[in-house]
């Protein structure tokens, strides 16, 4: 018998005949019929446990009733099965009531003070399945509570029904088995090892899937009740996965975020950054009123009318002088990015627009042109026989994609290869084969492996995927090496940027070489389409990239800049970027929080954060993720509206008054139908440690770090991985470093001093977190991945 997808079985549930796919869990079949069997331990994305015994039903197989009630969460459907749930079977009903009574004997009457109260499966099912009174008059088992198992998760062992959802999640899904069962019998409890708190990037999910109030969030503790909350479906703004989430607000404040259920994207999970990092909305750094620099050089609050007038005058003057550059930033929705792209072409009259607020290269831009019609999805990554990641650490830089890859590794033994420097937790948890490379030499390493061997064999399997992070732009030649490997193996390539807005900005033409829909600036026919739609004449000469724009600004070749949420410290050379911002004649900044740009800007226009705006993120798959505002008002406007009004002041119409107007204007243009040329090959250079005491720097960001959107989140910061200098034992010895001791990594600009931890890096390489507390690599050292640094002990 061959197993096909369509193979089904027919069974009877409560007298209703139903056809179910073979291997389906009985409780799911019941669910599809609308028969809800109470349950606690069962979760569709976790392996069955059968621990709580709440979902007992009566089952008859082949005309013979099974002697005991069966747990419907562990039983798979079979042909001819006759199932009687609590609705038709007194035995099942009694069994369920009995289990419910037993579950409640040791459960404290905490409902009034419990954060889960009002949305608690135990509460609900005790109402539907429980007795009205308890026969238990004896002593309840008690534990001290609450017990913080990490800075953001609190454990109440009395409330726990030991369904093991949290431990199974941590073990199976996240791969961080820091919590487990301890003791036995009625004293069994969830716990952590001593001195090993629940440090997982995904620990928040355990709070959400806990069917009782045993795991609660430290940040949300006692903040509100379910009936206070207004819930809005939303999309996570923190990375390019575009996870579905739910934003719960109360009295104009975001109280919490929960994972939404989107089987295509994030399934039911959310990383802790997406779940907990939202207090920036109310941070003191937020800007909610327009600011103008007065004669004394101070920023003062002014009216929108005045701010826009001054901004428009300044920009008009700058346009008339040497021109304006536009830096759009990577956190924009598709609509807002389009407004920047159009503003640059129509109002500023230039192609000098770039969304890339991070190290970038011309080679990358050429590579991105091949990425305009993405073909890889989460599902494709999950189904892929092999995956290679280049220029990204899955867990640190795309948490939800990491969970998918891990799922694939667990379910069907996906082969994972990671081109990187050391066996990070993410590498270990995906059982990845680490392809080690000296930072900067990744391209040549990949090229050597492209000749043949294990990697090529694995990637040659149909459906294999190469995931390319945006850090690939830091390594010369890496994009072309990837393209070469993809051509050789037939593997699909997917670009997975770190920021939520990058892909959308690329698609809508917020880049110097492309117009909306991926139309090359150099393509006359494509240009003509846009010219017709916009009613302008466009130059055939591509514009300048972020670095070039800032360099031009520094040298006086540009007179004005419009900057939308760019942190100069994220750029390859923060000092150069700041020089550009400082030297430019007129600087308009559109941002949600004060930054290094604010300090230099002539006009600061506040824009709306996600909670206050509508829009569409385009995730790395190219999937559109529309969302509506979670909060009304707030007195802030989306970028597209601000730019539209600014353009009107400059006597130009953008037609981007609202996100939907912007989307309409954009959609009228449609996609580009022409073809691109493949990126040209640019071999990489290999820096080597030149003298004693130096090393090559490897660096990338950790998921939880000093990111601007993570301000005011002490609980979240408590679960961040501690910043460490990493080197292998031989290198540490050569440099005189000892594990646990301090090491100083320095350039001529500055030094970073952190404790040392040994890891399996290549010889002569040290690793630093790029943007963690005490380790701001770009702004302190002025260099990045692949640079030569001096390393000393102490």
């Amino acid at each position: 018998m061959t197993t096909t997808e369509t193979e089904t079985v027919t069974l009877t549930i409560d007298g209703i005949e139903v056809t179910a796919p073979k291997g389906e869990i009985l409780i799911r079949t019941c669910e599809r019929l609308g028969i809800i069997v109470p349950r606690f331990c069962d979760h569709p994305l976790l392996e069955p446990a059968g621990a709580c015994r709440q979902c007992l039903v009566e089952v008859e197989m082949g005309g013979r009733p099974m002697p005991k009630p069966q747990a419907s969460c562990t039983m798979t459907v079979a042909d001819g099965m006759v199932v009687k749930t609590q609705h038709t079977s007194p035995v099942a009903d009694k069994a369920q009531q009995g289990v419910m009574e037993l579950l409640l004997i040791n459960h404290p009457l905490d409902c009034p003070i419990c954060d889960k109260g009002g949305e608690c499966p135990l509460q609900n099912q005790a109402m539907s399945t429980g007795r009205t009174d308890s026969r238990f008059v004896e002593t309840k088992r008690t534990f001290p509570k609450p017990l913080p198992i990490s800075s953001q998760v609190l454990l109440d062992r009395e409330r726990c029904v030991l369904c093991q959802r949290c431990t199974r999640f941590s073990d199976e899904i996240a791969g961080d088995p820091f919590i487990d069962l301890l003791e036995r019998g009625a004293n069994q409890q969830i716990g952590t090892a001593e001195d090993k708190p629940f440090q997982s990037y995904f620990s928040g999910n355990t709070i959400q899937i806990c069917p009782v109030g045993a795991l609660t969030s430290a940040a949300y503790r006692f903040r509100s009740r379910p009936f206070d909350l207004k819930s809005t479906p939303s999309v996570c703004e923190h990375c390019s996965s575009g996870c579905a989430s739910r934003t719960d607000t109360r009295r104009g404040q975001v109280m919490r975020k929960l994972a939404g259920n989107d089987p295509e994207v994030n399934e039911e999970w959310l990383c802790d950054k997406g779940r907990f990092a939202f207090r920036y909305l109310g941070a003191k750094q937020r800007i909610t009123r327009p600011l103008l620099r007065d004669e004394s050089g101070q920023l003062v609050e002014v009216s929108w009318t005045e701010a826009l007038r001054v901004a428009a005058e300044g920009l008009l003057a700058a346009r008339g002088n040497r021109g304006i550059g536009v830096l759009a930033g990577g956190r924009l929705t598709r609509e807002d990015a389009y407004a920047y792209a159009k503003f640059a072409r129509v109002a500023a009259g230039t192609h000098d627009v770039d969304f890339r607020a991070r190290p970038h290269s011309a080679e990358e831009l050429a590579f991105l042109q091949t990425q305009l019609t993405p073909t890889v999805t989460f599902a494709a990554v999950e189904a892929a026989p092999s995956v290679l990641t280049v220029g990204m650490d899955l867990e640190e830089e795309s948490g939800i994609l990491f969970l998918r890859v891990r799922k694939a590794v667990r379910k069907h033994g996906q082969r994972v290869f990671t081109l990187g420097q050391w066996s990070t937790p993410g590498v270990e948890k995906t059982h990845a084969t680490l392809i080690k490379s000296v930072p900067g030499a990744e391209a040549s390493v990949l090229r050597e492996l492209s000749v043949g061997g294990e990697l090529v064999d694995a990637l040659s399997a149909t459906g294999s995927v190469i995931l390319v992070g945006d850090r690939a732009a830091e390594v010369p030649g890496l994009h072309s090496a990837v393209a070469e490997l993809a051509t050789r193996t037939g593997a699909q390539v997917a670009w997975v940027p770190r920021r939520a807005g990058d892909r959308g900005a690329l698609e809508v033409g917020a880049v110097p070489t492309l117009l909306p829909g991926g139309r090359p600036v150099t393509d006359a026919a494509a240009r003509a389409e846009v010219e017709r739609a916009w009613g302008v004449t466009l130059s055939a000469e591509p514009g300048r990239s972020t670095d070039e724009i800032l360099a031009a600004a520094a040298s006086g070749a540009l007179s004005g800049l419009v900057v939308g949420g760019v942190d100069p410290h994220d750029l390859a050379d923060p000092a150069a970027a700041l020089a550009g911002l400082a030297n430019v004649g007129f600087l308009v900044s559109l941002e949600i929080m004060t930054s290094a740009v604010t300090e230099l800007a002539d006009v600061v226009l506040p824009v709306a954060p996600d909670a206050h705006r509508a829009g569409t993120y385009v995730n790395w798959e190219g999937r559109h993720r529309p969302f509506a505002p979670s909060l009304d008002g707030g007195g802030v406007l989306p970028d597209c509206r601000v730019l539209d009004t600014l353009a009107v002041e400059m006597d130009v119409d953008l037609f981007t008054q609202t996100p939907s107007a912007a989307a309409g204007d954009l959609d009228r243009l449609g996609p580009y139908t022409g073809t691109f040329t493949a990126p040209t090959e640019r071999p990489g250079s290999t820096p080597r440690p030149a003298q004693v005491g130096s090393a090559v720097l490897a660096t990338w960001r950790q998921l939880l770090d000093d990111g601007a959107l993570q301000v005011d989140e002490p609980a979240l910061a408590g679960t961040a991985r501690a910043p460490r200098v990493r080197a292998n034992a031989a290198t540490a010895e050569r440099l005189g470093l000892t594990e646990g001791g301090q090491a100083s990594v320095a350039t001529d600009r500055g030094a970073i001093t952190l404790p040392v931890e040994l890891a399996d890096l290549p010889d002569g390489v040290v690793w630093l977190p790029a943007h963690s507390p005490g380790s701001q690599v770009r702004s302190t050292l002025g260099v990045g991945h692949g640079a030569l640094v001096r390393v000393t002990a102490g």
């Binding site: 059968g50 015994r53 562990t74 069994a95 009995g98 289990v99 037993l102 004896e138 036995r184 004293n187």
Partner: protein
Amino acid sequence: MSDILTPVLTSRWAQENSWTLETYERTGGYRAMRTALAGHPDQLIQLCKDSGLRGRGGAGFPTGMKWSFIPQGGEGAGAKPKYLVINADEGEPGTCKDIPTMMADPHSLIEGCIITSYAIRANFCAIYVRGEALHPIRRLRAAVAEAYAQGYLGTDILGTGFDLEIVVHAGAGAYICGEETALLDSLEGRRGQPRLKPPFPATAGLYASPTVVNNVETIASVPYIVAGGAEWFRTMGSEKSPGPKIYSVSGHVERPGQYEAPMGITLRTLLELAGGMKDGIPLKFWTPGGSSTPMFTAEHLDVPLDFEGAAGAGSMLGTTAVQVFNETVSVPWAVMKWTEFYKHESCGKCTPCREGTYWLVQILERMVHGEGTESDVETLLDVCDNILGRSFCALGDGATSPITSGIKYFRQEFLDLIAEQPAVARPEQLADVELTGAPA
């Protein structure tokens, strides 16, 4: 009387230094192994099936059939390594047959392991011994070392090309690890809690590979079957439950101990062998196979103690741990003590067993201390009903047996507790009457 006994497994126990290889070989040991290794594994499985040997761990599953479930061949599950795991985590209250076997005659177990491993094509065998049984573990380890030295274990045993490693693993003292899947988890280094079945150990057991889990007594019987043949084995016991069985008689009898007799012996006969009730105090109740089997009373003296006989009388054969209690013992008190054991040993995985035993103990303790209420007996029975058949493994079911059977036969005794009659003797009562079962 002594002709009733059929010393097979226990035949060497009285020998001097019975645990040594020398004694074992002198008395015919390791000959069955040679016979077995000369034959085809499938012949051994067939022989075991023909003998009708049933598992001695309690459930009585036909051993030959269990062996034949192991997938063989070079594909799928059959291509994986196979394992033999010996369940020597003897923890059932009253049970005391595996530990003396390992103490007195460890080589019979080892020989059984070799034959069984050969039959199921396993090259690795683990013996999971209860951690508290330190002395038997030492004996067993010494015996395994002897067998290795003699070339009966290791690579290319006796030149047959058959390899076998035996590891003696000491458990950490959990009753639940006597449950075969919990035992496997524990053996793998995990928390000892029962696994979801299916998959059964025969397809995905130790390290997710086909595994046979058998009791010590079962495997120790194998060499005798190979040596004596299936027909000889069937001369003892009944049609469906053939062979000899070690009955561990304990409690209020004159000579408690191990009595190896054919299956189907009655308590009446066992009592005669054991010298009758201690001090002539009449029998009140007894368990046929440990505390997890519903108790019997004097009216069950003639129930044949085989799998069918015990089941027919409303109990189970279990591990044939015959615990005998005389008239001086309060049933609720004994039941409370047993239930405390189950509460202490419940692994905590499933709700009914974890919470149910916690509750039952509290009710029983309250009743035994004279604070029961009229509804308590009904509550006990209802809670038992909510545990029996609802729990994850048989531990929960077993925990209800003493209570339901105790109330079935001695309901009045439970009801009397409500009428201000504590089952725990008060100090003034202890002065003139010696009550067995009173706490020290």
